[in-house]
Assembly symmetry: C2
Homo-oligomer: 326 residues x 2
Amino acid sequence: MILSKKALVTGGAGFLGSHLCRRLLADGYEVTALDNLFTGTKSNIYDLFENRRFSFVLHDVTQPFWGQFDEIYNLACPASPIHYQKNPVETTKSSVLGIMNMLDLALKTKARILHTSTSEIYGDPLVHPQVESYWGNVNTIGIRSCYDEGKRVAETLCADYAREYGVDVRMVRIFNTYGPNMHPKDGRVISNFIMQALQNQDITLFGDGSQTRSFQYCDDLIEAFRRYMSLERPAIDAFIEKHNLGAAVINTGNPGEYTIKQLAEETLRQLPESTSKLVYGPMPKDDPKRRKPDITLAKELLGWEPKVPLQEGLAKTIAYFRTLVK
Amino acid sequence: MILSKKALVTGGAGFLGSHLCRRLLADGYEVTALDNLFTGTKSNIYDLFENRRFSFVLHDVTQPFWGQFDEIYNLACPASPIHYQKNPVETTKSSVLGIMNMLDLALKTKARILHTSTSEIYGDPLVHPQVESYWGNVNTIGIRSCYDEGKRVAETLCADYAREYGVDVRMVRIFNTYGPNMHPKDGRVISNFIMQALQNQDITLFGDGSQTRSFQYCDDLIEAFRRYMSLERPAIDAFIEKHNLGAAVINTGNPGEYTIKQLAEETLRQLPESTSKLVYGPMPKDDPKRRKPDITLAKELLGWEPKVPLQEGLAKTIAYFRTLVK
């Protein structure tokens, strides 16, 4: 009898979830992936079905789910504006009811839970770069609010389940992340640019393209998840206390800052055969102009920082998208 | 056969809910009050039980409720820090699941719905006075967040049910409101001061007492509810469009600004027999230092403004608290 640790990954067929499942299997876990396949896709995890330590359950996190796990990774939620604005109410519900259900599961089974929050909780930030103690600048009733506010109150629930019920919660605020298995039509800037370049369509920059983003390669982020989850609770509690954080929340992202225009140019540099040109469109409503993580806390707590340079991550991502376009 | 309009009031046994039920009955409605009696109390509505147009249902809004109504007033939620910090998770759930259930009810029955939001969505505001277009300054993981963030995402859900499903939603952001039927132990400043004065206990000011509040008498607010709900949808949509609001949300409050110290002094002036003295305590965590509504939009949309001066409202409130202390 082999006793593997058991992990649950919500959103397990999504972009990040699929990488996390693969990593957990490599680390020897039994892995259960939940996904309603709204934005996730089984093709992201086809290769895992042969692994007997892997299970896939078609399930919507807005409904309760019960099972015994050592670790719960809550990744489920449409995360790109194109997807979440198609169904704003369900997006909020997936964030809010999803985390309630997973916190209830963690509470009843005494599992560790890692919740994936987002840099979007900072909204259009007035503090730069963003530190965890910054409260954010978010519209409650705009067209992006379904995601931003759903994610904000999910953090609140995590903090209160920890304080009120002692649930062992760890939160990460994920900044812009990219890599293979991104949805080709998710409307995010990296997938947009690569798909446009591969198809010789013009690359659209919003505004003048001078708004900046930080780009974190997926493998770097998954490494942060694993290090965070492997910490014992007393170390985390001491860290919260030391930094007067209020809850176990850290930024994870790549602080390297690129303008959208630089990204477009690097994409075209790596695809010299493309005939795409840069064109300019109007800024979408409520789109943040600038965002960059301060990762001082993650460095200290996890001994972690991003390792994959944009050029290298972009090359791997382009290689993936090539397989889709063929 | 008498055909009365039917109204549902969640939180109907609470401070504001009880006044609203009384007003709706006076206006000829059939009224159903829902309350889980966590902070509401049947004594607030004892006098209504004899009215055959009134029904009370002991019900928690975190659970679905079905019935046919013309108008839904969603007031249910613990609203004072003493109450909501006792059970933060349930507070968030009452906001979030409560509004989901009521929006679903409004959607399926084509009812109008008025949702009571709060000035707390502005948090510790960096803009003064607060206008509806201000996004607020709120901590996601602090000890007040259960209320603030629950109320923020409730607004998001209202805005998205309106946009996505055409639900006829109207939102008010209620600033500090007082009057008879306030919970004597809710920890809010007016009830605290009056109870302390009536019992000859020292009156505690947090900080130096220079933080300001606006105080709206309950009857003024209920009048705003009724005017808002009586508007036809096209008038509201035109107003949203004209002011580029994004959703039907208006501030309701009394812009008259008093320091906490002035309030304490007026309370003692009206209770000359009290032997209470003013004492000073430390500021609670995350307590907003200053808050005052801009009610330009409510004035224009509803032809409304507060009419009851603080001295008069305080006198009525003191008269009510006297009956409790006897």
